[in-house]
Point group: C2
Chain length 208, copies 2
C-alpha cells in the first residue's frame, strides 16, 4: 500500500481521486482493455508522468482502484444470530465477488501488486467484516469460531473457486460452507467428513 | 486450453517445445520482467508473428508455460494410510506453491488466462492427485471424504493464503488442515469449531 500512503486532503488526495474517477469513467466508456496511462491522465487532467511516478504503471493503478472498489461500504447486517449473520454475509460476498465486475477487480488487485499488499488488503477487508460479526455474536453470548477458522472454511473456498474452479457457484454453496463450519456434526453426516456433494447434487460446484 | 490443443508431434509441437524452452532459458538469464515476444521468438528460432498467432500475447504465453510447470510429474506417494498420504501431499503442495517460483507460476497462470481455462487446469491437477489418493484409500477399505470436500478444506485454504494472506504459512499449517478434515472431533476441541489458532501459536498463519 506504500503508493497509496498519501496525506489525506491536499493535492495528493485530489490527484488520487481524479485519477481513480478517470479510470472508472473510461473503463465504462471504452472498456478496460483500451485503457492507457496517457488516456487516463488526459481525462484526469494530470500529466502521464504524474501517474507513472505515483503508481509505477497502469497495472498497479488498476490494482489500487480495484482494492478501493472491493472495500466494503457497510458493516454486516444484524440478523439476530451468528448463523444468520454469517450466512447473509457469505451469500453477499460470493454474489459480489463471483459477479463479472467482482472477478475483474480481484484479478486486477492480484495482478498489479508486486509486493502483495493489495491482496493482503482485500483479505483484511473480509477478516474485518468477519471479526465484526463474531464480536457481535460473542456479545450475544453465542459460542464463536475464531476469525482465521472462518477465513479457512468460508472465505478461502469461495475465493479459490471464483479464481480456479468457478462452475456451479451459487448462494446454496455459501450457505453450506457456513452450515458445515457451525455444525460439523450435521445429523445427515455423523462424522462431518462428507459435505452433501453428491456429483448429481445440482447445488454443488463440481469443477472441471 | 484451446491454444494448447495442438496435435502431438509435428511442427506445432516442436514450436511449442522450443518456445517454452526459450521462455525458461531467458527467464533465468535476463529475468521474467525483461522478457519480450521478439526476444523469446529469436531464442526459439521462430518469428514473433508465430508467437502472437498461437498465444495472443506474452502474458498468455507465460500463462501456458506456468500451467505446464505446475503439472505434477509423479503420482502421490503411498505412505500406507489416507491420513499420511494426504498429509504428505498437502505438505509438498504447499511447499511447491508457496515457494517464490510456485507463486510466480500461479500468478502467471491466472494473469494471461482470459477464459479461465488455465486456472481450471491448475485446479484439475490438484483434484486429480487427490482423487488418486482417495481411490487408493478406498481400496484399502478406508472411509474417505469426497474430492470436492478435500478441495474446499485443504487446497482452497492453502491457495487462498498463498495469494492473499501469506504470513506464517508452513508445513504445520498443511498438516493441521488435513487433521481437521479427517478428524473434526479432535479431543482438544470437542465441537470442531476452533482450530488451534491461538494468536500466539507460532505455527498458525495470522494474516495481516
Amino acid at each position: 500500500m506504500s503508493r497509496q500512503m498519501v496525506r489525506p486532503g491536499g493535492r495528493s488526495a485530489r490527484v488520487q481521486a481524479s485519477v481513480h474517477a478517470a479510470v472508472h469513467e473510461l473503463a465504462s466508456e471504452v472498456g478496460r482493455a483500451a485503457l492507457t496511462v496517457p488516456l487516463v491522465a488526459q481525462r484526469a487532467g494530470v500529466t502521464p508522468s504524474t501517474i507513472y511516478r505515483r503508481w509505477g504503471d497502469l497495472q498497479e493503478l488498476l490494482s489500487d482502484v480495484a482494492v478501493m472498489r472491493l472495500r466494503p461500504d457497510t458493516a454486516p447486517g444484524d440478523h439476530g444470530s451468528l448463523a444468520s449473520d454469517l450466512t447473509a454475509w457469505a451469500e453477499q460476498f460470493l454474489d459480489e465477488m463471483a459477479h463479472p465486475a467482482g472477478r475483474a477487480y480481484i484479478r486486477d488487485a492480484l495482478l498489479g501488486d508486486p509486493d502483495g499488499s493489495n491482496a493482503g488488503q482485500c483479505s483484511a477487508y473480509a477478516a474485518d467484516q468477519i471479526t465484526f460479526i463474531l464480536t457481535r455474536a460473542a456479545e450475544r453470548g453465542e459460542r464463536t469460531p475464531d476469525v482465521e477458522t472462518v477465513v479457512d472454511r468460508v472465505v478461502a473456498p469461495m475465493m479459490y473457486r471464483i479464481l480456479f474452479r468457478p462452475d456451479g457457484l451459487d448462494a446454496a454453496y455459501a450457505r453450506r460452507l457456513v452450515a458445515e463450519l457451525l455444525d460439523p456434526s450435521d445429523p445427515s453426516d455423523p462424522n462431518g467428513q462428507n459435505g452433501p456433494r453428491d456429483p448429481s447434487d445440482p447445488s454443488g460446484p463440481t469443477g472441471p
